[in-house]
Subunit: 580 residues, 2 copies
């Protein structure tokens, strides 16, 4: 009972042995992460089309709930880029940005996501996330990164533009080029350039200057904070917002409010599919980050319990003015590198953010949105990686098809269609590959009891006997292939009296394949040809034994292929020594 | 060139060797089939909601085109029950029954079906039909049979009723019970009873009376013709249509007219999905019938060429006043039993039906629709077979889930949702089964070089070495499962220094699984544990060789598991004799 409770509420395990040293490590990590998270939270809320405070609210209660229910010791939960984009895309279809309905739709989306994740977790259905193959995820992340970066260009240019696909966005940007605000553009380009330089050039420089690597790391991660501070001061000092530079403006000074999602049936219906998509993508992202970090300390992650942790975090977001959240890569790595030892580090981060929400929001009044856009662009462009195209092309053409279709459809038709098509395409390609399994016609290697492919080896055969070795489990997608194959092979040779199917590589036979075997048996019977099976594995034979196939088999089941050869091949009987 | 032409136009092959004997056999078969087809064609047209002549027209040109392009020698193409139901369901959503738009929608549906089948055939994509597993087809046919029988009850009762799901139909029938026409009911019940008796009781009776089996067969199949003749004469003689019995009425006396499908974009868009569904279901039904009959004469069917034959037949239907057609089970068996030798029998049947369309339609003026409904009910109830539930329950629970979901959803939500859900459910269940492959931890059988499951055999192991044998190809659905499994196993034992993955049963490793192996390699590296592979098959090794995995492998690739044991297990090195 206690064990079960501990499994579902991991805090009960690590909380009991919490030491003073772990506390001080967690506190240090929390301070660093809090500082990073403030600009990131504001930026992702902007990306989701929500007011800036939503990003901070979405980082407070969700972090605490994840600390209680999650299993990763370093995962930092909150708004992330891809989920913010998916949120904007989903709720943009049901409400106008900036309205109260839009914020409520965001809460509802977080609620549905949370409920769906919890449901999956309780039913232990985490395996569903496996339907997203690595190439589909990689293609989707790359395309999303491009979409997100493009969507932020309007803030850099200081114009109004919109659109959900790459073409729509670029078209809208071009149409508004006349309205470009030069000062905004200057701030945006400078901030973007600075952040790129921090990412690529600062660390080697600090290294050459003899700064310790750990400190250099922190300095590199603090780039966005520096950009925020400098541009805010500039705008304030030079009164640039009076000259058309858009700023964040007033952000309420308050702890996260208590909010309620909407339960209007129409809204729930419109948001359920996007919520499922967001949940699964968020879960996949979060679990891969958590597993990577856990492995470094030889810890383990329970994916089904992660569903519960993330589900609780999203429900928390829904009731405290947030929007869908998940475990983010960048913030988790910062947390891990900063030395967080337990999920308590997340809780302290939450306290830090709560203080920021209460006290620090006036400081971001003059923060230009172009700076936030620059932090988003630099963050997401690091996700864009077309190398996946080259890697999959070299390794497997069908994976290449899946990844390129996902990229093109995501860019061309939007995130939801893109990722859904990716899943369908990769499933269909996989089924296609198994739909034409490798089947070898085999013969006896002289002087042995081994049977090998007649095309590759010099083997003994008999014109009245055909032996086919099937190198795949038999199920509905390849059942009819086997029917056709046997029928074609048998109609080729009029001397054939026996067909042996060698099942050494068949791990399963489903009901469709059973019916195909029965059809093969019936048809061969109509032709006066015997159907035999050899080397059937134990579990497969157990299952076939419950069917009528074995009873009606127009032939025998042989333990080994060699037994079948000896019993059925006239040449083996006529000249038994030659077959030894 | 000639060979290629012959493959795509099979008539060029069998036409050259057509003998007088084959001609006379084909003629006899054609006469028998023509007589059977007249009531069947009228009945199925009624089921599709079309005027009776559409059923006859749909049997003329399509039969001829299939005779030219199809590969089966006995298949009879024309309207069939399930496709008629699907047609009614599809075009009922875009047009009102009885309007000109309804007939045009039927032509358009046939056109789209034909075009889609041709496209699949030209692209050789016939394998797509394999996505319909046998249990899904069986469940769908059973549920459709029930739906069709229920839909015909209104003709037996003589009331107006409608609906696309079982509940809607039954509800509508109950609501109209007050309008029941007693004479219609009498005719309908009598005809239904008579036809059931013909099917079950006539043959044994004729057998006892000493009638030759072949003649008894024909007499049994002629039951519907007898019912049509008797009830028509009754209605005509007793003027029953004056007393409320609905009759077929005037059918134009004409050869099939030249018609054009509509190319209105809205209509095409609305009908494309139903057309795809009809094509695939029709193709599956047709190919299974054709293969069963071909096997009896050791002939072969080319499924891709069948797509072209059926595609041409449907295009023919679209331009000659018909509606979607396919190879029917009942009529094909009659054709085969009646001794048809070549597709020419189909062409003669077409001539017979053309004569009927020109000359005999006045004879069916007084035919009561209740009789047609009775022929449909008796025909489709023979398709209803709940035994599939029992069989799949006994053989495989996941097949049972697929079949029962298909039956329930088809009855409850309609044919299209039913069959589409069936496909999705069976694919997901299959993927689920392969998502948790059998993985055995193995050890050395003492005194041998064999490695077996440590849970089943008394084997040697070493605490620093874990060997996992994976019994399934690795791909995206089970890639993460393997990651979790390895990580969990390694975090269990602190002494573990080496993990060997034994790949003897792995036939393929896709890109996702490759990335999972790389992740496992990286994580084990972080823990200071080596990752090794053993017994990797040639093609898998070739592919892995193009990736970075082998280069970065935190361990070695061993040809045999025994090599791995000798190299990695300290106990093997310390005491080499014990390991022999």
């Amino acid at each position: 009972m206690i064990d079960k409770l501990r499994r579902h509420v991991p805090v009960l395990s690590w909380g009991r042995t919490y030491t003073r040293e772990a506390f001080s490590n967690d506190m240090i990590a929390a301070v660093i992460v809090t500082i990073m998270l403030i600009p990131q939270s504001l930026a992702y809320a902007m990306l989701a089309g929500l007011p800036p405070e939503a990003g901070i609210y979405a980082s407070i209660l969700p972090i605490i709930l994840y600390a209680i229910f999650g299993t990763s010791r370093a995962l930092a939960v909150g708004p992330v880029a891809v989920v913010s984009l998916l949120t904007a895309s989903a709720i943009g279809q049901v409400a106008e940005q900036g309205t109260a309905g839009y914020a409520v739709a965001a809460l509802t989306l977080a609620f549905l996501s949370g409920a769906f994740l919890l449901l999956l977790g309780v039913l232990r259905l985490g395996f569903l996330a496996n339907f997203l193959s690595h190439p589909v995820i990689a293609g989707f992340i790359t395309a999303s990164g491009l979409l997100i970066a493009t969507s932020q260009l309007k803030h850099i240019l200081g114009v109004d533009a919109h659109g959900h696909t790459l073409i729509e966005m670029v078209g809208s940007l071009i149409a508004h080029l006349g309205q470009v605000n030069a000062i905004t553009l200057l701030i945006g380009v400078a901030a973007t350039g600075f952040l790129f330089w921090v990412r690529k050039g600062l660390k080697p420089l600090l290294h050459r200057l003899g700064v310790p690597p750990k400190l250099a790391d922190v300095a590199t991660k603090a780039g966005p904070v520096a950009a925020v501070l400098v541009t805010t001061v500039l705008v304030w000092g030079l009164d640039l917002n009076g000259r058309g530079v858009r700023i964040v403006g007033a952000v309420p000074q308050s702890l996260p409010p208590l909010t309620l999602p909407s339960f209007a049936p129409d809204l729930l219906r419109a948001l359920i599919m996007p919520a499922i998509l967001i949940s699964i993508i968020g879960f996949v992202e979060s679990v891969s980050v958590a597993q990577t970090l856990a492995a470094k300390k030889r810890q383990r992650i329970d994916p089904d319990q992660e569903l519960i942790g993330l589900g609780a975090a999203n429900l928390g977001a829904a009731f405290t003015g947030g929007y869908p959240v998940t475990g983010g890569f960048a913030r988790s790595v910062v947390n891990f590198d900063a030395g967080a030892e337990t999920p308590a580090a997340g809780a302290y981060t939450a306290v830090g953010l709560a203080i920021a929400a209460l006290a620090l929001t006036p400081l971001v009044y003059f923060l230009p949105t172009a700076t936030l856009a620059a932090t988003i662009i630099v963050a997401v462009l690091s996700l864009v990686d077309f190398a996946i195209l080259r890697h999959t092309w070299r390794y497997s053409k069908s994976d290449f098809v899946a990844v390129s279709a996902t990229i093109l459809l995501t860019l061309g038709l939007g995130v939801e269609i893109g990722v859904a098509s990716g899943v369908v395409i990769s499933v269909v390609l996989h089924l296609y590959k198994t739909s034409r399994p490798h089947v070898a016609e085999v013969g006896l290697v002289p002087g042995t009891q081994h049977f090998r492919n007649i095309l590759r080896h010099d083997v003994q055969t008999d014109p009245s006997l055909v032996t086919l070795r099937v190198d795949e489990s038999l199920y509905f997608v390849n059942a009819r292939f086997l029917e056709d194959l046997v029928q074609n092979r048998v109609t080729e040779g009029c001397e054939i009296r026996h067909v042996v199917l060698m099942f050494s590589a068949v791990n399963a036979v489903d009901y469709s394949a059973l019916e195909s075997l029965e059809a093969i048996n019936r048809r061969l019977g109509d032709m006066g040809v015997g159907l035999h099976l050899s080397e059937v594995k134990g579990p497969v034979m157990d299952r076939l034994g419950t069917s009528h196939l074995i009873g009606h088999l127009n032939g025998q089941v042989f333990l080994s292929q060699y037994d079948a050869w000896q019993a059925l091949a006239p040449s083996a009987r006529a000249n038994p020594v030659a077959a030894q």
